[in-house]
């Protein structure tokens, strides 16, 4: 598989994502500068976390105009897997590759901590190695991660089994209070219709090696690896 991590000015998890792919599935991803307007047919593209353009405007609002985004859209349409983590998720929403928006955390403060996530569907190339409703520990680190969507979009997401992760309490309860940021229906990550684009606020790359305190993020990368037929 050929993988790429897109680097926007202000991305700061680009190297982390690259390093995590190498540590978990042995894949060496290319770092792709956001000004690229022609990409090879990557099988897997990550839009990493960070503060693209400083995020002085709405998060991701400028990055979506980067030349590379047309290529990301093309690859998504073509069926490549696209993963947006944190700022990457925000950019995917701004680029309309996923529905909805991310608002400021309801406590108005940045939050960095491990949270519990419940896997809502195993039916995707990203989540196939998790059991449905299993509980994961994955960190969040964001100031604007409160997911919101119109009632119509929300209903569609649910009807089509496209909510990938929800925030949960330690005992697995999922309700509004479980969402540290105030996300609607405690939604932490969602898929597109074709299930090849995933956006989520938590950072799976941050808990994918035991030294860092956990490995619950690892099966996500392994699932991608499997879906794409390994190193072939």
């Amino acid at each position: 598989m050929k993988a790429a991590v897109v680097v926007f000015p202000g991305s700061n998890c680009d190297q982390d994502c690259r390093r995590s792919l190498l540590a978990t599935i042995g894949v060496e991803a290319d770092l792709v500068w956001h000004k690229e307007s022609q990409l090879p047919n990557y099988d897997f593209v990550i839009l990493p976390g960070g503060f693209s353009y400083g995020d002085y405007l709405r998060c991701g609002a400028i990055a979506r105009f980067s030349p590379v985004m047309a290529e990301v859209a093309r690859l998504a349409k073509r069926g490549s897997l696209v993963l947006g983590v944190c700022n990457g998720f925000q950019i995917l929403l701004e680029a309309s590759l996923l529905p909805g928006a991310l608002l400021k955390n309801h406590g108005l403060k940045y939050i960095c901590r491990d949270v519990r996530l419940r896997v809502e569907t195993a039916n995707s190339p990203f989540t196939s190695l998790y059991a449905k409703h299993s509980l994961l520990t994955i960190p969040i680190s964001h100031g604007e991660g409160s997911y919101s969507a119109s009632p119509k979009d929300l209903q569609r997401l649910k009807d089509e089994d496209r909510v990938a992760f929800r925030y949960a309490t330690d005992d697995g309860t999922v309700d509004f209070n479980a969402a540290p940021n105030g996300s609607i229906e405690a939604i932490a990550g969602i898929l597109n219709e074709k299930r090849n684009v995933l956006g989520l606020m938590p950072h799976p790359e941050r808990l994918a090696e035991p030294e860092l305190g956990g490995t619950d993020g690892r099966p996500l990368f392994e699932a991608v690896f499997q879906a794409l037929g390994g190193l072939s």
């Binding site: 680190s141 790359e205 941050r206 305190g213």
Partner: protein
């Protein structure tokens, strides 16, 4: 010259006479402004230099001591760490968000100016009484500012400390530390070497923000502070991220002769220092400086502290390459001058010379004051104190619960969870325990870091208190299993022209020097912040100490939480009848008093070495430094973090109050599996360290019995007090 213009540049009459003597002529206004900032305490260390000389700065691991942008220490395998700490107290007092943010930005630039990639930041914060709305506003603003900058630029904030005390009501302390990694054979310096080389200004444009910030830092705060907001700079972490990446790229391609961060006193300080270090002259052509707005006067350009700028010295042939790399990052890189022969610092505008001063006058001829020093009356008075309050308190379980919910002992999660402490994928030990631990790339080694200060103990006994601060920071590193290697510091004091303040400074630097020497942690740099006063009220003197240490095998790291039921808990070190200067006494009486606990530095060093050995041998399950709040608080913290209780019963000759809440120095709580008991005790004996067996880990309670005084509290009650308090106490 008419009037006394030197006064507006914060120069005294005597200093002006010295300038006349050096220059053999009257300086013009611009020249006088150069002297004003370069001879300020902030840039010239004129009140502190005489005492900073006492600090030990050499050691086998030290690759770069004080005098450069940051100190550098060898980590082996060709790798080194650059680190430094700096204060941003006054700006934070006036505009907490930007003041703190630009403090972080400045210290990050100091580190990458050494050619290092910054990998972590830490912060040491001191605020006033939390019940005051102003304190809470400052806390929120400062924490948001640190997070806003660090999170955005993508450098994790991995640790720190926070302390609340009314002595900081008018003047908070915001000390930021940054660390970066570099190759030990490729340390860059801030030297303007090579005659004819081009001097380039890169990064942000120059505006009016922060003009005269360095002078402002060298004055006391007062009621007209809101008028000083223009002295506070505005941070742009996004710009700094681009600057960082572009700089590391040109360093990688060997395009740089020297580089220097633009911090206090902006272009003036950076260019003068670069010239001074190389013994060369330097010429600036001001019309070439990219400006944010039109109409800046030459003195404003020279003194602007606009952030996110760096000065480079580049060989002329390589200038186009440097410009091309900066262009890729959409950044400006503009030649603004040249390295010249003769040693003069010259400022020109459109070919006309506006100022010409030998650089050495500005850097080497700074007047050095060893000021009058007088022992304050409180020093002797406060030693005689009634310290019976703790032992008179009937219910120690209740006292422990209340302490754990008090501003100085409750969990700091409210603060550190606003910081991205994980970005970079190196944070192995996260905030919330003692020191932080980072893994090093392509290596099994770990880098441990801690910052510490103890304002109360330094106030009561500056010599001993400063030594305590060093010991405490070193132990916070040692409890991870690492060996403390070196330290940086930030010395925060009141007005040095007050003999009693200068006495505090003199004694504290003596204590710092002694402890750094004994613990073999040389000082690689630091920062002095005087004039921390508001309306004549000085802060408690606070030397903040940042220690870095090396753990040779990351897999042997130690953390503070209890690990498993049936593990045995021991106390390393000796508890004495020392209730003075304790947090518990302050909590109960509101008084800072009593003798500061004794400190045996030889013992602390042995303790550090013992911990390193025990960790390397794999004999321990956990280790936690015992400090503010005493043993009971340390046990509760380990229990809460591990979600495991403790049943302990031990006896001794001291009072229960001292046993539970006294702050005797050099003590660490460790746990181990029963199987390791014998070899553990054997090592303790070899290092001649007193050890007390406390009890057994397990259950849902902290169940402690010392002599016949018991503490029995459920972890659930302690947890509520500990974790929920700060957010509630700090609510706006």
């Amino acid at each position: 010259m008419t009037g006394e213009p030197w006064l507006e540049h914060n120069l005294t009459h005597e200093e002006y006479l010295k300038i006349l003597d050096l220059m053999k002529r009257e300086p013009n206004h611009l020249e006088l402004a150069l002297f004003g900032v370069m001879w300020s305490e902030h840039c010239g260390y004129k009140n502190s230099k005489a005492h900073l000389k006492k600090l030990p700065t050499k050691g086998p691991a030290v690759l770069q001591g004080p005098g450069e942008n940051a100190g550098v220490v060898d980590l082996g395998d060709g790798l080194a760490v650059a680190f430094k700490m700096e204060s941003h107290n006054h700006p934070s007092a006036i505009e907490p968000y930007q003041g703190a943010a630009t403090g972080v930005g400045g210290i990050i630039r100091d580190v990458f100016a050494m050619g290092a990639r910054p990998i972590a930041s830490l912060d040491s914060l001191r605020f006033g009484d939390l019940t005051l709305p102003k304190t809470r506003r400052l806390l929120h603003g400062v924490v948001a500012g640190i997070g806003g900058y660090g999170n955005c630029i993508g450098i994790p904030t991995v640790g720190g400390e926070a302390f609340f005390h009314p002595s900081f009501n008018g003047n908070p302390l915001v000390n930021a530390m940054c660390l970066g990694l570099l190759r030990s054979d490729r340390i860059f310096k801030g030297q303007a070497a090579g005659l004819g080389n081009s001097v380039m200004l890169v990064g942000a444009r120059t505006g009016r923000d922060g003009v005269k910030g360095a002078s402002f830092a060298s004055e006391e705060l007062s009621a007209d502070d809101p008028d000083k907001r223009p002295n506070v700079q505005v941070g742009d972490p996004f710009m700094e991220k681009l600057l960082l990446e572009a700089l590391l790229e040109i360093l990688d391609q060997d395009l740089v002769v020297g580089l220097q961060d633009l911090g206090a006193a902006g272009l003036t300080s950076a260019s003068v220092e670069m010239a001074g270090r190389a013994g060369n002259g330097l010429r600036l052509d001001l019309e070439k400086v990219p400006l944010r707005e039109t109409g800046l006067a030459p003195w404003e350009i020279m003194l602007s502290e606009s952030q996110e700028r760096t000065l480079l010295v580049i060989e002329p042939a390589k200038v186009p390459e440097v410009m091309a790399i900066f262009a890729k990052w959409d950044l400006l890189a503009v030649p603004v001058g040249e390295v010249t022969a003769g040693g003069d610092f010259e400022i020109r505008l459109n070919g006309e010379t506006l100022a010409r001063v030998p650089a050495s006058f500005l850097t080497e001829e700074v007047p050095i004051y060893n000021r009058e020093s007088q022992e304050p009356a409180y020093y002797a008075e406060r030693k005689k104190a009634d310290l019976t309050a703790i032992n008179a308190y009937a219910d120690f379980g209740d006292l422990l619960t209340k302490l754990l919910g008090s501003p100085n002992l409750c969990s700091r999660a409210f603060i550190y969870e606003q910081y991205d402490f994980m970005v970079g994928l190196n944070t192995v030990i996260r905030p919330g325990g003692d020191g932080a631990l980072l893994r090093l790339p392509n290596s099994s080694k770990g880098l441990a870091i801690a910052v510490d200060g103890d304002s109360r103990k330094v106030f009561l006994d500056p010599y001993l208190g400063a030594a305590h601060s060093v010991a405490e920071a070193a132990l916070n590193v040692a409890v991870t299993g690492a060996r403390p290697l070196a330290l940086t510091n930030c010395l925060n004091f009141g007005n040095p022209e007050d003999p009693e303040i200068y006495w505090q400074f003199t004694k504290a630097t003596d204590g710092l020097a002694k402890a750094a020497l004994e613990l073999e942690t040389p000082v690689t740099g630091g920062n002095v912040s005087f004039y921390n006063e508001r309306d004549g009220e000085a802060i408690y003197p606070t030397p903040t100490i940042g220690v870095v240490g090396l753990l040779t095998d990351l897999s042997r790291r130690l953390t503070h939480e209890f690990k498993a039921p049936e593990d045995l808990a021991f106390l390393l070190g000796e508890s004495l009848e020392e209730l003075g200067a304790s947090e518990a006494h302050y909590f109960l009486t509101g008084r800072d008093e009593g003798p500061v606990p004794s400190l045996n530095l030889g013992h602390v060093k042995n303790l550090c070495r013992l911990l390193e050995t025990l960790a390397a041998e794999g004999l321990l399950q956990s280790a936690h430094d015992c400090s503010l709040g005493g043993l009971a608080v340390a046990l509760a913290e380990s229990a809460l973090a591990g979600k495991l209780g403790l049943t302990a019963k031990w006896s001794g000759p001291i009072s229960p109050g001292a046993a539970y809440f006294g702050e005797s120095a050099g003590r660490v709580v460790v746990t181990l599996t029963p199987a390791n008991r014998a070899p553990f005790l054997d090592f303790c004996a070899r290092y001649a360290l007193p050890v007390t067996e406390l009890g057994v880990v397990g259950g849902d309670n902290l169940d402690l019995t010392y002599n016949d005084k018991t503490i029995k509290v459920s972890l659930e009650i302690l947890r509520k007090a500990y974790y929920d308090s700060l957010a509630i106490l700090a609510a706006l």
